[in-house]
Subunit: 327 residues, 3 copies
């Protein structure tokens, strides 16, 4: 692209493409991941009660992408843990962030976390973590391309899995900590990191298959800048809503603004099931698995005495929390 | 077999064996699968709220067999999605069946689904889908045979997984849609498609290992005719009970008609656990995971105020629904 | 080691190393595993209602290690079932232990189980089962070593998975039986078999990588004796608490005796989430997924009318039960 040449960005993009993630960017990625784990409600309690589960959970946060893509490509999911140096780094960081309270002579003010949680530090770390995303997505796409020449969808899936794995397997990561929230997952309600990674996977897959006429290092530069700027602005404004929100809402309103199908579906299914509509309705949203949207009212309805307020607050909190969650 | 020669069925069976599933039979399979998904309670609501999760869910319905058998054979579970044409077909059908309401200028009467749901259309589609089952089971058995020469059990397992995969992974398919019903799965309560597929897997595995003295294309003809006739008659009579029901009940009564072990077990375990029988009983069936059989009463017992009727209705509905579910 | 030569243990250790697990020790392993399954609350009820699910569940108990390590190493998880003889043995034992009641002319006193449950018989079987652990762990470590030369962590993980697989996948084994207890898993609260297997995996991995200056057959002898003696004494004393309990408690008190982080965490997260502390607290422990520690009170809190006693009993029972559970 001439634009790059005009702006003398060729050197920059080449320099970026030659950048090594190890050790600094990896460290940032691990730190942010473990902090995200720590900020999960109840995580510290688990960390105190069963350190091993918490360590494993943090490994899933740090290496989730490699594990998931490994499972999808039938390569050893354990392979990411065979890189001793990185695992050691991640473990040390996990130890510092989660247990500094206990390590530093029981100082209750929890030094390491407080430092990393300082706004400027956090800003830098988050930015650096975003950079690693580009490399992970690109790695996944390339890996898939080497196996499935014309499998565009596979490339996208693997790139996505590698870049946003930690988020995509969050249900099972939570299960390790004894938490189970079937009513929420990254596919039902994508968080910002998942979306941005998906976009990246699509772009790199298109570039890989020559559908997108742009050089790889140029795309890497563009995507990296885009993600970093986005994330930084989000951190600065403290907003958890993605910049695509308006576009999405427009699209959603355009395509799915028809008559709410809920009634239609009920009637249809009830017809199919020969008039057990009411019971079906309950079957659809039993206590243990309520569809997110209707969670508030059903939760209230199922509990002994209806408490809509609490339930609503709960569902909200779940959402905010899931929005905050960085993979 | 002379019988075949006498009846001049050799040509027919050869013709059937040479039949290509693509594109017509595959289309029928995808259509029926997506319709089955759509008729799941709450599916349309999810389709409206998070289209991506619903698309992924329908992919699991359409390609579940390949994904599951891939996992079991340590071959890439993503491989089935590398066949772009089939994925495209399935996606288009998913779009039409689930979203036609929104596509066709918001016509509220939901054309495509209404057409496919017309009885004759449905009858034909269901019959064609049954034909694909033979090919899938046979493919799975052959694949396993090429790896494990004498592993009869493995052949059966893989053939079964490939033919009834969508049903066997239904728990996790539901999880994608935010629904979690741990108290029901295809192994606890096999539905008709799962049973017929298992029988097919056993037959083809025996044929593959020469235990069954019949030529492959003859067996294919027999099995295909059997499944199609069965399914068609079930659709015509609208009964969800398998034709093996009587045999099963006889067998079950013969072997398991002993004294109900429930008491024995309780006492035994309570003895083992030193008289914490009551608590164990609760541990056995906590709120979040009740053994199907006792679901009705425990559900009632756990809820604030006992409502046995509702609970019973619910469990029943779950069963009917799981019976209806076609994989 | 001279010590071995002095004590003339070389022959013994060589003899042990040359010992074949098949058929006697394998039989003992399968028997103890199926008995453990049978003693799970509600298992007999499931065995009666859906024999297939129960058979599959017992296969997971017997071959869980191979299946899990297969998944982790991207080798066919189905492979362990390709060994027809062993599967047949396991199935027969499963049949005898679970269904003898029905087989022996409906004699209600359930002969086979009663015999195997006799104290001396059980003692011998348990001891023999412990012997198989050494071979499984060693096999896993060697297998991992052949793939990842310097991946100490991978060796430990695979050895552990192979030795204690049945326990590690217990959540999903229970799911097959329609039971779902997300609040408990082997990582959150390790049972004795899991711990002893982990120690064994670490030792054999260190020996494999020459960090531990001891010959393999010597280590096998030591570890086997240790496990057998331990398990036997535990069976004799009927205590379900591991011999490491005191050490653990000391370590735990030393490192994690700081100020309970629960408050800190709440405040921190609530600050992060902008004062939705209360709702977070609920989000942290919703009905369907309560962190084990706080299960008692939240369970009481969530239910219509608070019943702390029952809830506490329940959580206790869950623990005892999970302690008893042998993998």
């Amino acid at each position: 692209m001439d634009l790059f040449r005009v702006l003398n960005l060729d050197e920059l993009s080449h320099g970026l493409a030659g950048l090594s993630m190890f050790p600094y960017f990896d460290t940032a990625h691990y730190t942010v991941s473990v902090m995200a784990l720590r900020e999960q409600p109840g995580a510290l309690e688990v960390a105190r009660r069963s350190p091993f589960a918490c360590w494993f959970s943090s490994m899933l946060y740090c290496f989730g992408g490699g594990i998931l893509s490994g499972l999808m490509m039938a390569e050893a999911p354990i392979a990411p843990l065979s890189n001793s140096i990185n695992v050691l780094m991640a473990s040390v960081i996990c130890l510092c962030v989660l247990y500094s309270r206990y390590l530093v002579f029981y100082c209750p003010q929890d030094m390491v976390y407080s430092c990393t949680a300082l706004f400027p530090v956090r800003l830098v770390l988050t930015g650096m973590k975003e950079v690693t995303r580009t490399w992970k997505v690109l790695g996944g796409v390339a890996e898939a391309h080497s196996k499935y020449k014309d499998g565009l969808l596979v490339m996208i899936a693997i790139g996505w899995a590698k870049g946003a794995g930690g988020g995509l397997i969050s249900n099972f990561e939570q299960l390790v900590r004894g938490v189970w929230k079937p009513e929420t997952n990254e596919l039902l309600k994508m968080t910002y990191p998942t979306k941005i990674t998906l976009i990246g996977a699509v772009l790199f897959a298109l570039q890989q298959t020559q559908y997108l006429a742009i050089q790889k290092h140029h795309l890497m530069l563009l995507y990296t800048v885009f993600t970093v700027v986005n994330k930084t602005s989000m951190t600065l404004t403290g907003s958890s809503s993605s910049p695509f929100a308006p576009i999405e809402s427009v699209v959603h309103r355009t395509f799915f603004a028809g008559p709410s199908p809920s009634f239609t579906s009920e009637t249809k299914t009830s017809v199919v099931k020969k008039g057990t509509g009411e019971s079906l309705d309950r079957a659809a949203v039993p206590e243990t698995s309520k569809a997110p949207g209707s969670s508030s009212k059903t939760a209230a309805h199922n509990r002994g005495k209806g408490s809509p307020k609490k339930a609503k607050v709960q569902s909200e909190s779940t959402e905010t929390e899931s929005c905050k969650k960085s993979d």
